[in-house]
Every structure is written in C-alpha cells, then in structure tokens.
C-alpha cells in the first residue's frame, strides 16, 4: 500500500504576485499528476521555459490519492494527468477524474483534465477520455505544443493528438466510410467531423485545419469538442471492442 500520508507534495508555490497574469485573465493554474518525479520536474522546467508566466504550477502528485487531495485543495484550472498511476481503485487517471467529480475551479468552472501518457494502448486512451478528460497527448509532445494544449483545455476545448484522431476514425468506422446522416448521431462521425479528424491525424494544427477546410479555428474547435462528446457518450459497441481487441501502435 502506498502511504498517502508521506506528503502529497502540494507545494503551494504560487508565483509571487497576482501581477503575473498576462492578458485578460490570470495565469492558468496547473497541477501535474505523474508517478515519475523526474518526468514531473522535466515538464515543470519545460513549461516554465515556454509559457513565461501564463502557467502557474500549483501542485504535484504521484498517486491517485495524493492527486485527489491536491486537486481538491488547489482547485486548479487544468490537471495534467498521467494515465497510469498507483493507488486508488487501480484505474489510474480515470480514478483521479472520478475522485474529483464536482470540484470546481476558483472561477467556478469545472476542473479540466488533459491526459498525458506514454501509453499508446487504446484501452488506456479510451478509458481516460470516457472518464472525462478533455484531451489526450503523448509524452513526446514538445514543450510549446504542450503549453498550447493546456491553454486550449483551460478554455474548455478538446485536444486531440494525431494518434487519438486516428483512433477515433478507426473506432467510429469513419475510415471505412461510415458517416453520420445527422450531426447529433452519437455513434458515427459527421462528414465534417471526419474531415477534421483526418487532418488532425495527418499532423495538421487546428489553424491549418481551419485554413484547409475554409472554416474558422473556432469551428474546428467546435467539431473537435463534438467528437470528444461522442467519444465519451457513444455506446457504439465497436468502441470498447476496438479498444480491447486492438492496440494503438
């Protein structure tokens, strides 16, 4: 058993003053959850470098129980969440999201989770997304990209890595040509959503996707969020079967 008493390293190391906030609002308050201390400090350094003072890392945790405690105490805007964590009910990141249900940020919005994992296994990805994470990126992501993803998640948008997009296309049968007739259909992607997903899978940034499809970035974000919702709510049986039966790499 991991002893949760051995110090959830809450490190209330907020930036010195509230004056740090660039732009219209204060810095995004961030909690890092990963069971590898080295990885946490690496991410911290990288984010400090790229974000200036737009990001404020207010806490770290290495287990499910520590993470829930730190998040409940700090009420951050965004949690950078590892998929595999010790403790809890053994479901890692999903347990953290479940344990933090109902926790709101200081501004009153919901705490958003961005899954950050070294695992490409489909069942891990699908589990943490369906638990409520707003996005999924792999640990090889570059610092600036990670910073951008955090900002995007803090704004309530969804973040799809190319790999997650590929997964979505496969799991929803969109690659094989299945297209929803109505946008609201939960079990299939609409033609536009499929286009957006394909471009993301091809390595396009949201901006490039927008340009390619002659739509606004905001519209791209809407499509991605809508796909995320389908991913979370769909009862499409292939989704789970796919996740179980096939690995992403």
């Amino acid at each position: 058993m991991t002893d949760s008493t051995s110090g959830p390293s809450a490190e209330p190391r907020r930036s010195a003053g509230p004056a740090g906030g660039a732009g219209s609002r204060g810095p995004i308050r961030l909690v890092l959850v990963d069971d590898h201390r080295m990885f946490r400090s690496g991410v911290r350094t990288e984010l400090d470098e790229v974000s200036g003072n737009r990001l404020d890392i207010v806490g770290e945790a290495g287990t499910v129980d520590q993470a829930v405690a730190v998040i409940r105490e700090q009420r951050p805007d965004v949690v950078l969440l590892d998929v595999h964590l010790p403790g809890g009910n053994g479901r890692g990141g999903s347990d953290v999201i479940a344990g933090c249900a109902g926790v709101n940020t200081e501004a009153g919005g919901p705490v958003r989770f961005l899954a950050l994992s070294v695992s490409d296994a489909a069942e891990d990805v699908i589990a943490v997304i369906r638990a409520g994470a707003r996005g999924y990126v792999t640990k090889t992501i570059s610092g600036p990209e990670l910073g951008g993803a955090i900002v995007r998640v803090a704004d309530g948008d969804a973040v799809f890595s190319p790999r997650l997009a590929g997964f979505v296309l496969d799991a929803f049968g969109a690659a094989a040509g299945e297209i929803a007739e109505v946008d609201e259909e939960l079990d299939r992607l609409s033609a536009r959503e499929r286009e957006v997903m394909r471009l993301i899978a091809r390595g396009y940034q949201y901006k490039e996707v927008a340009k390619e499809l002659f739509i606004s970035v905001k519209t791209v974000e809407t499509h991605v969020s809508s796909v995320l919702r389908k991913l979370q709510l769909s009862s499409r049986h292939e989704l789970t079967a796919w996740a179980m039966g096939r690995r992403l790499l």
Binding site: G166, D170, A176
Partner: protein, 407 residues
Amino acid sequence: MTSQRPEPPAASRPPLRRGGEGSLLAGVSQGLGDHLGLHPFAIRALFVAMTAIGGAGALIYAFLWATIEPVDEQDAVPLERRTSPGALLVAGGAVVVMIGVLGFLQSQGLNLRLDITIPVLVLTVGAVFIWAQLDTSGRQRLLADQGGSPQKALGRLVIGAGLAVVGLVALTTQNADLGQLRSVAAAVVVALIGVGLLAAPYLTRLWRNLREEQAATARATERADIAAHLHDSVLQTLALIQRRADDPTQVARLARAQERELRSWLYAGPVGPAATLAGAVAAAGHDVEDLHGVPIEVIITGDRPLDADGQALVNALREAMLNAVRHGEPPVSAYVEVGGRSVEAFVRDHGEGFDLDAVPSDRLGVRESILGRMDRHGGTARLRRLEHGTEVSLELPLSHEPQGADS
C-alpha cells in the same frame, strides 16, 4: 497466499526432531520431550514401561525413530523437516504389516500379548497422525518445503495406504477361514474410511500445493522472461546511451528505437514481420526512424492484406518519409487510411518545402520512387507545399477488392 486453516498451535513449540542434545539412544525421547515440553526422562520411563507390556514400547520407539527427522546441525529452521504424510503412511503401513507378522508369530505359539500391544500401537500411530496434522511446522513444511515434489508425496501416500490395507488384511485373515472374510472385508472398509478421513486434509492440501506450485512456476517463468527481455534490450540500450552521452543525435535515436521496441513488446506481444499493409507501413516508418534518428509519428487506421500494389505504396511511402526526414523539419507524421475503396497515405513535415520543378531532373527520389511508382500501380501521388512544410499524399484505389465476389 495460504488459505485459512485450523487455529495455529503455540508458535514457539520446537519442531519434532530426534537426536538433540542429551540423547541416549536414537534421541526419540529427547526430541519428543523437547517438542511436548516434557522431561525426556518421563518419556523414556513410558517407553520402558510399555516395552514391558508385550514389547509395544519398543515398537513405538522404532516407529517414531523411523518417522521423525533427525536434528540437522546447520538448520534450526522448522521448514527443513522432510517427513511427509506419505512417509508417515508408509511407516504406518509398515507397522501394520509388522503387526501382521507378529500375529503370525503368536499363532505359532509365541505369546506377545497382542491384545494389549495392538490397540496401543494403533492408538500411537493415530495420535502421531493427528498430531502431525495439527502441527504448525508440519503445515509449513508441507506448504513450503514439500513444494518441490507434491507428486512424489502423493505417490508415497498411495503406497502407504496400499501397504496399510495389505497389512490390515494380513492381520485380520491370519487365522480366519473364508467364512470370516465378510467381517474382514467390513473391517477393511471401516479402516479405509478411517484412513481416508485422516488423509483427506492432506490430499486437499497436496492438491492445493500442486496448483499453487504450477501458478508460481508460471509466474516465475514470466518474470524470468521479462527480466531477460529487459536485460537484452533496455539495459543494453541504456548502457549504450551512457557511453554515447556526448552525441545527442545518437542518444535520441537509441532512445527512440528502444522505446519503439519496448512498446511493441509490451502492447502488441511477440509478432513476427506482419504480412499486412499496416504492419508493413509501421515497419517502414521504424526503418526510416532508425536510419536518420528522426522520430516519425505513424498513424494507421484500418488494415488489409499486403499485396503487390500495397507493397508499392509502402515503398513510395518509405521514400516520402525518407525525404521528409532528410529535407524537411520535424515533427514528421505519416497517416495511412485503409478504406473500403482506396488506401490513402499522407506524409507531412514542417520544413521549408520545395518545388518539384526546382528539383533537378536527374534526382530520381521523388519523381521515380514516389510519383512514378504510384503511377505504375494505378495510384496517384501529389506533392503539396503547405505554409509550414510539405505534404506528400498517395492514393491507391482498391479496384480488385473482392467486394463483388461475395456480397
């Protein structure tokens, strides 16, 4: 670990051994005294007294001498005792046979007071059985030490039981005519039931041991496999990385190759070179990564068997990826979509981009390996210059798909 069993007796009781310090003969009395917390002298007196009654004491002494493990100088650990229920039964069977012989002798005129000796003997054997069953160290020995050969123990058990039956039959039929055989048979059945009742816990325990042992072996094998794999791959790579620490490109390449290898081992299991399009694409991507040390994110949706056209697509894709890592900037990504009517593939980098027209015509890379190759196989290839980087898109229609053959 071990499932629940009867309440443990005093844990500090020394194991039943013979021949400890202060032994006179074989150390049986000394050992019994130590084990039971009695003065060995009292036990010796008991043996002597019982020997006076038809020699039962001597018999019991011999029986205990045969079954109790001698003290081993090196180990005082109770787990090391080697007697097993099988051995106990063999000894018990031997005793019963012995009694049969004695009975025979008596029928020849020797008076051995069997009316007293036999009940005493049976009682003792039974007591030893039950005691062994309740004995903590015995249980531990069964679980831990016997782990090596439950089958052997089972074999001993069977032999012992058989021996006991033979002995009982010999004993009860020595003077009997055939008319008495019915009652003899009944006695044997009763005895067998008794032995069965006594042995039942052992049998279940042995069975459980066997199962546990098999599971443990499987686990150990798995662990050994993992350790071997980690040693062959990860540790070797880490050593290499430490030696090449001053060469970031090499380090990145090594780390990436190792990551990929470990990932495929962890998540995909042991698979040979895949004869599917997806497998071939992934392999091509890994190849290019290894050649140039630039990571390529390869994403594949759908799959199909690899045919000649598919192989051509893979080759063209490989060339495109090579171009991307050589002339473009990372991140490089490749996306392959295997659809119902066609296969589409995209390779994208983030470099400056280039004009096909500006490429000297003697450079065969793009023209021949990508455009020409796709053309020959009925596909198309396009080169697009994006704001950041270049994208090569390949398309291969799947005309000879068996779609009409079986609807």
